[in-house]
């Protein structure tokens, strides 16, 4: 498997790509984050909680920026804040869609305010803007190798919990009424999904950045859902798109070192651009809905 991937990567991308330690770390952590986000994201999209996912990511930026200030592991910072925000939103327990959106918006704003404070301290202390860019938009080639084992553990916990809760999660995402009638405990299922979502978002934040985490969470999942008729197909398609976009993005960013003077382009840009391109291609292939039906374009 690894040999096959190596052969493909070698054929596609510049020499030296796979010999680079930072590239290997980026491919491992980024690929893992993409798969976890795709799987968890399918549930998030089905539950109509994309905005909550985005809010968790934004709030997690406060933790990420605090980690930079303290010199701690950014992953743990992202993780701490997103989990705290998820627990807070669930504790607020707002079930109505509008009230939930408002609570989410308020929490999101508060989190970004904290991030602004910590990043300002970062900037004044180090007189460099690097932390802000890394926290918000990711810096994949700067992920320390020591992050990989922690990220792997976080990812395995997220995937394991999702597999364990697969059927209650799916049924309650399809219809809470049906799930309640089937004996599914909606509150516990919702809380579990929020915690798993916090883990996925922290992984995304440490790779493509807190602001762009939504792209990794929602984009591949939304495309996979559109492509597949059955749940397993949606998960497989979403994971494939997320992983493909992340690895291709890493390769392109590595290649881009010679495109413009002095600097390679950021990985996050390529990853997000590829996810968007695949989504548009799938929507186009599925046939453009008649312009007279604006309702069909509502998601996205």
């Amino acid at each position: 498997m690894t040999a096959a991937v190596d052969a493909v990567m070698r054929a596609l991308f510049a020499p030296g790509l796979l010999a680079s330690g930072p590239v290997r770390t980026a491919a491992a952590v980024g690929g893992g984050a993409a798969v976890v986000c795709a799987i968890v994201g399918v549930f998030t999209v089905l539950r109509g909680e994309a905005f909550a996912g985005h809010a968790l990511a934004d709030v997690s930026s406060a933790g990420g920026s605090l980690s930079f200030l303290l010199g701690a592991s950014p992953l743990l910072g992202f993780l701490g804040m997103s989990a705290l925000a998820a627990a807070g939103l669930e504790a607020a327990g707002v079930r109505r869609a509008q009230g939930r959106d408002l609570a989410t918006g308020v929490v999101l704003g508060a989190g970004l305010g904290l991030a602004a404070l910590f990043l300002y301290f970062d900037a004044t202390r180090t007189s460099a803007g690097g932390a802000a860019v890394a926290v918000m938009f990711g810096s994949m080639f700067a992920i320390p190798a020591s992050t990989a084992p922690v990220a792997a553990a976080v990812g395995l916990v997220a995937l394991g919990a999702t597999a364990w809760l697969y059927r209650p999660l799916l049924l309650s995402s399809v219809s809470p009424d049906l799930a309640a009638a089937r004996g599914v405990r909606l509150g516990a299922t919702s809380l579990a999904h929020a915690v798993v979502l916090a883990l996925a978002v922290a992984l995304a934040a440490v790779t493509v950045g807190a602001i762009l985490a939504t792209a990794l969470l929602v984009g591949p999942a939304a495309t996979g859902i559109r492509l597949a008729r059955r749940p397993a197909g949606a998960f497989a398609a979403a994971a494939g798109i997320g992983l493909g976009a992340t690895w291709a993005g890493i390769g392109l960013a590595y290649d881009s070192a010679g495109w413009t003077p002095a600097h390679p382009w950021p990985v996050s840009f390529f990853v997000v651009a590829l996810i968007m391109a695949v989504h548009l291609a799938v929507r186009g292939r599925a046939g453009r809905p008649a312009p007279a039906l604006p309702g069909d374009g509502g998601e996205g």
Binding site: R167, P168, L171, V174, S175, L178, A181, R182, G183, R229
Partner: protein, 289 residues
Amino acid sequence: MREPGLQTSDPGGEGALALEVEDLRAVLGGRPVLNGVSFALEAGRFCGLIGSNGAGKTTLLRTILGLQAPAGGTVRIGAGPAAGPRRGPPAVGYVPQRVLLDPDLPLRARDLVALGLDGHRAGLPLPSPARRRQVDEMLAAVGAEAFADQRVGRLSGGQQQRVLIAHALVRRPPLLLLDEPLSSLDPGSAAEIVALLGRLAAVQRVAILLSAHDINPLLGEMDRVVYLARGRAASGPVAEVVRGDVLSDLYGHHVDVLRVHGRVLVVVAPGGDVPDPAGHATVVGGREA
């Protein structure tokens, strides 16, 4: 509060009791909705639960299901113990009101039926021939084989109702509850669903309790009726309940039951307990289509 004249026991008692509701009381938002409702239903019966909006039909169904705790009284399902709020999968199939299924849902009709079988269980569903056979049998029983592999959210309203009924029945519960399943269907599809439920009650020996605000689409198929008004119920065979004297007792006001062209019109005189802003005679449960 029970009025003996309103209760009609089933003579013969050919089937075991699938549902026994006794002196049930329920409160919704501080307002008493059910004030001592009693009725029983045997296996294989198809029973309509009729009442105007706000009469407590959904509350009664949710209380039977265990989703809402009763303020008093008992609910007995099958041979099981009296039920309060339950944990785990109840032995009751349920088709809720207005299930909105997104057209893009990556879920085939057969996947939704399979979730009726084990949607509450932890862990990934492993493919098993027994599981697949149970799902196939249920899809066939509701006439959904033709669209079993299509996305469930893209099926017509009538097709979705069939799939939801299969989802509710695949565990072969003794009791099936349906909350206003006909309200969003055209008359043709509604008649098909009613005929299907009549067949399922007879063949699968499941007791069916279906709520509706209009009694007429059910008339050919249902053999029992529960009328809800003022927090109380009148129940029994259709001919014994849908009568002027019985319903007058229930509504606490003079009620006429008119039978016109094979349809039933229940007319409450002005000033009755049924909301009637216009001050004219109110037709209950027999609205002309």
